[in-house]
């Protein structure tokens, strides 16, 4: 219905949207998502270089160490690539989590279901500006969307999509029109 500039996103995303569907928000997860695999890989690389200094005895432990380090390195590269192609898209009707490097997966949650959603911001999230949405259904966690950038804005955006009457109603106007608090009583 509303062909907007918002549709001008990556083709990979548009492929999963209906012709009449408009994406309100489209974002990647925060790069902090890559911290744990990066830390593991760096630590393993450091350990492998240190162990290579031990030139005594059997060489097979060193070979095993390097194989494991290379495995962690490859895993990190794959994680980074998977992070790069993973998108969270919110339209007026649903939330989509498009992910997968080899096998493309599109998870879909209708927006009314997001009424049972918890918004969480850890200390690191507050410092690095990301948060988590925990989507529940019937008291059980259905999906955890971690490392969401601009999470506060996104939370408000979701709320305004789900409850449009709260976002744009007379109350807003009333607040705007309300007289300023007169003095300190």
């Amino acid at each position: 219905m509303k062909p907007t500039a918002a549709r001008a996103g990556p083709l990979a995303i548009d492929r999963y949207l209906l012709p009449s569907e408009v994406h309100v928000v489209r974002l990647r997860q925060h790069p902090a998502f890559l911290i744990p695999p990066l830390a593991g890989t760096l630590g393993a690389l450091l350990a492998a270089i240190a162990i290579s200094a031990i030139r005594e005895g059997n060489k097979s432990p060193q070979i095993i160490v390097w194989i494991l380090t290379i495995f962690l390195l490859i895993r990190f590269v794959f994680t980074a690539a998977a992070w790069f192609v993973q998108y969270i898209v919110i339209t007026e009707e649903r939330l989509l989590l498009i992910s997968g490097l080899k096998t493309r997966t599109v998870k879909m949650i209708p927006l009314p279901k997001l009424k049972e959603m918890t918004f969480e911001r850890s200390l690191a999230g507050r410092i690095m500006k990301f948060g988590s949405f925990i989507i529940e259904s019937g008291g059980q966690i259905q999906l955890t969307l971690g490392y969401i950038v601009y999470s506060e804005q996104l939370y408000l955006e979701i709320c305004s999509t789900i409850f449009p009457q709260l976002a744009y109603n007379e109350d807003t106007e009333r607040i705007d029109e309300s007289p300023p608090v007169s003095g300190e009583s």
Binding site: P36, A39, A44, I54, P61, F71, F78, I127
Partner: protein, 329 residues
């Protein structure tokens, strides 16, 4: 690729292998190897020792060997608490290839080698160590202790590999596993000396009064000997005895050498045993040949090829008495 570690940790195959069904299958396979793939001998061993002994006997010898490596695997797969518990268990029960002071010296020597490395490598290590430390700090302060400890576990696993491989060398020799699999480890190997003075190595499956059931080591055949025919039974050590202690001992370290078990006699596989019965196997009807064998003061061999085995020692004793009377007449 992303999910390799997750898939491994949730693998249905590993769960099956570790389940009672898996352990039972492993125990059955091992029993067949012990009995030279003869199902009759395997059944006889089980009937003498019981399933529980067989299962435990299969698992127990492997536990001290694989425990340190299992701990490293668990740490690498980010199973931190089970990994730490396994590592602790290994420190308590897995015998080390070197003494405790030597192990400490090894660690010190390794550290010395790392620190006194080439200057370029030291610089590279510092360059890597700084961002690593920063990332660890971010993990600890922001992402949570669980994420932090998982990274530490992965790095610790990699750091420990050379040390563990020297403290607990994984036997790569094929003969080691062949010997381990062939020995019924829930029974001690014994040197059986007959009253005639001849001796051989075997495993006493049961010792029920008048008759002793022995699995001979060389030809993996079960023999029944009259108790009076056996002069001595002495526990012996197959292969080399392990005299090393684990890293942590609950009792104070011994000041003297551990007691030494006599080595077993060399296996005489391939040549006929002087105690091989003259009749190679019992016929299906049973008692008479076994009684004749007993009369001949030879052992009673279990009837493997025909699939029949002697009933029990009491029946054989009765048959023996009957035949003795017949011969006297």
């Amino acid at each position: 690729m992303l999910d390799v570690t997750r898939r491994l940790s949730r693998s249905a195959t590993i769960a099956l292998l570790l389940s009672p069904v898996g352990i039972l299958l492993i125990a059955v396979a091992r029993l067949l190897i012990i009995s030279d793939y003869n199902t009759v001998t395997a059944t006889a061993i089980v009937s003498s020792g019981g399933y529980v002994a067989t299962l435990l006997g299969t698992v127990i010898p492997l536990v001290p060997i694989i425990l340190p490596y299992l701990a490293l695997t668990l740490l690498f797969l980010n199973r931190v608490i089970p990994g730490m518990l396994t590592l602790l268990a290994a420190a308590f029960i897995s015998p080390m290839a070197v003494t405790r002071p030597t192990a400490l010296r090894l660690a010190e020597k390794d550290w010395h080698l790392i620190v006194n490395n080439n200057l370029v490598i030291i610089v590279v290590m510092i360059v890597l160590a700084v961002p690593f430390a920063c990332l660890l700090l971010v993990e600890l302060l922001g992402l949570g202790f669980n994420v932090f400890i998982k990274t530490i576990a992965t790095v610790t696993c990699i750091l420990l590999i050379p040390l563990v491989s020297r403290l607990y060398p994984f036997p790569l020799d094929r003969a080691f596993y062949a010997d381990l699999m062939r020995q019924p480890s829930w029974l001690p190997a014994e040197t059986v000396t007959l009253s005639s003075g001849q001796a051989f190595t075997g495993y006493v499956l049961s010792n029920g009064g008048n008759w002793i059931e022995v699995l001979k080591d060389d030809n993996r055949t079960i023999y029944y000997y009259r108790a009076s025919d056996i002069a001595t039974l002495a526990v012996c050590q197959m292969g080399q005895a392990t005299l090393m202690q684990p890293l942590i001992t609950l009792v104070p370290a011994k000041t003297h050498a551990p007691s030494h078990t006599q080595p077993c006699r060399a296996s005489s596989a391939g040549r006929p045993s002087p105690y091989q019965p003259r009749t190679p196997a019992l016929p299906a009807n049973g008692h008479e040949p076994s009684a004749l064998a007993a009369l001949d003061h030879g052992p009673v061999q279990i009837a493997q090829p025909s699939g029949h085995r002697c009933e029990d020692a009491r029946q054989r004793q009765q048959a023996y008495e009957v035949i003795k009377l017949v011969v006297k007449k």
